[in-house]
Symmetry: C2
Subunit: 219 residues, 2 copies
DNA sequence: ACAAAAGTGTTTTGTGTACACCCATGC
DNA sequence: GCATGGGTGTACACAAAACACTTTTGT
């Protein structure tokens, strides 16, 4: 039996956590305290061993290496599997997860960097972030995933700013509003922003907490 | 070192091969000759060991268990990674690949079944096919992936029948044609069908061999 | 009254959809 | 000339895109 077990590559999991912070789309990183790549920035991943799920491994890595708790994540979805990792310690394969956390749940001590201007990361982690960014954009355009990026209540302009930040482009405010309202996925809370030094915006929430599909793809 | 290696789950790869055959969307299977699930139908997967890529493992499994050659596949894309497999032999994780092969390249001896009316398969393979079907539909609606499902030259009606079969719904023929032509991805070969007992259709091919995106997702 | 951001409408252009008939070919 | 599938056009409703000003609130 041992001879069979020896033959498999080591499995790692990498949580790619995005959040919307200071009007920017950001990525959660940590600074490695050990070799390899000591001192460099990396995605806070770790090994996934036999007889545990990859989510259990994800929790361990995330909570050991960052101040986030798995339970605070608002969304977790499996993403690409990399089988061409260059880990100096041997053949490793790595499963990446796309994760989201709401602005209110981000600890102050979390290390965040802008997703659109990444520094050089350890391993091939830049590739992972690129890929996750594409996936996140796709989800924003086709689903109500924004409900997991924003706090539960938000103004239409918050939503507008999120889309502009994540897609990294300007979107006409009037068209954006009317289009989004036409999807019929938002509920007016009858509340308004508070403690702002200007006209307070109306607060909305997503009617359904589950992520649902938006514009249908038609042929 | 050995103690670390022992701890990882075994890794398997599963090639989910679709093809368009007898006007139907079909899936490639094989009948298992060994335990577990001896005698049952399954996706022709196998183990992926350390120091080989998952594609190498895919090739070995596919060519050992079916009459197909990896080199004949017209498209290979990584799909979902399952970490909740129920393999009686222990904790296994499995990476699935969505694969396509053109009608002309399908050997007569391949075991194919209709993708929309699957029998019960071994392991949790029904789930894999369901998922692959969703992914294939998505690709057909958003990319020129059809170029890897059809032979290089085909009539617009072939294309129409492919979409109807894969999406499992009727599509208005006139609208389908004008829409697809408007994408500007097809080239008229100036050839026609031969040896048909009716008016022969014009043959087209995709202008670019690489898969490209079709309708843009807009907001 | 001023600053700051919230909120609103119209026009033009293009796409989605529904629908029925003639055409070209082989036999 | 007939059977078979190939191929074409129009009208309507709605969505996409471009575009600038008024309103509300706090200070």
């Amino acid at each position: 039996v041992a001879t069979i077990l020896r033959k498999f590559p080591s499995l790692t999991v990498d949580p790619l956590v995005f959040c919307f912070h200071e009007q920017q789309l950001k990525v959660l990183l940590y600074r490695r305290s050990e070799e390899p790549f000591q001192g460099e920035l990396a995605i806070p991943g770790g090994f996934s061993f036999a007889d545990e799920t990859t989510i259990q491994a994800l929790k361990r890595a995330l909570e050991n290496k960052t101040p986030l708790k798995l339970g605070k994540l608002s969304y977790i979805e499996q993403m690409h599997f990399f089988d061409d990792n260059v880990d100096p310690r041997g053949h490793a394969v790595s499963l990446t997860y796309l994760c989201l956390i709401r602005p209110n749940d981000v600890p102050d001590t979390a290390y965040l960097t802008s997703a659109h201007q990444l520094p050089k990361l350890a391993f091939a982690h830049n590739k992972i972030v690129e890929r996750g960014l594409e996936e996140l954009k796709r989800l924003l355009l086709t689903t109500t995933i924004a409900s997991s990026v924003l706090d539960r209540e938000f103004s239409l302009n918050d939503l507008h700013r999120l889309y502009q930040a994540a897609l990294n482009q300007q979107l006409d405010n009037r068209n954006f509003r009317s289009k989004f309202l036409r999807f019929n996925v938002l509920t007016d809370t009858n509340k308004r922003e508070e403690n702002v030094a200007y006209r307070p915006g109306k607060l909305y929430r997503f009617t359904q907490s589950a992520v649902q599909s938006l514009g249908e793809l038609k042929l």
